[in-house]
Subunit: 101 residues, 2 copies
């Protein structure tokens, strides 16, 4: 099981539009068979800062995701909203064990 | 719904002990009624770096957690394993909506 943690900082005037576009991506992503979670978080201390918490079954599922319409539409929509380049980190899921997904 | 993202960097010689202690904390934490997730992640690029991804029902549930035996045992066990102070950030969960938990 693979986790991806994506940090994004958006311009102050587009916070609500960013949220709407990202919730659409969340809804589409959860329909992909290889994606188990796709949480959208907004930082309490800084409402311009967002985190996406994504759990994939496999490396292959991360690549399939990048070919979907919802991902590509999201990417194109939010690119001009970013205040700085997004950061991404990849993790092994130690717990819960795969059978709990 | 509240998310807490905790980043911890541990000394290289205690990576396996840290994982075992943190999986115990995960198991205890999931028995708390106000905790919905307690994922333990290890960074692919740097195996000494861990993230805890915790979802709580309420602010009160985050306080209850800090009074439990499993949390306090974990804290005491892992404190000397840390290579630097742990970092914590608090988030609002934008998606999924609360009814999906």
């Amino acid at each position: 099981m693979i986790a991806r943690v994506i940090s994004l900082r958006v311009k102050s005037e587009v916070v609500e539009e960013f949220k709407a576009a990202t919730v659409s991506n969340h809804t589409g992503s959860l329909k992909e068979p290889g994606i188990y979670r796709f949480d959208v978080l907004q930082n309490d201390a800084d409402p311009q800062e967002f985190v996406l918490y994504e759990i994939y079954e496999s490396e292959e599922a991360t690549l399939t995701h990048k070919e979907t319409m919802h991902y590509n539409k999201w990417k194109q929509t939010i690119e001009p909203m970013l205040a700085e380049p997004r950061k991404s980190a990849s993790f092994k899921v130690i717990a819960p064990a795969p059978e709990y997904y």
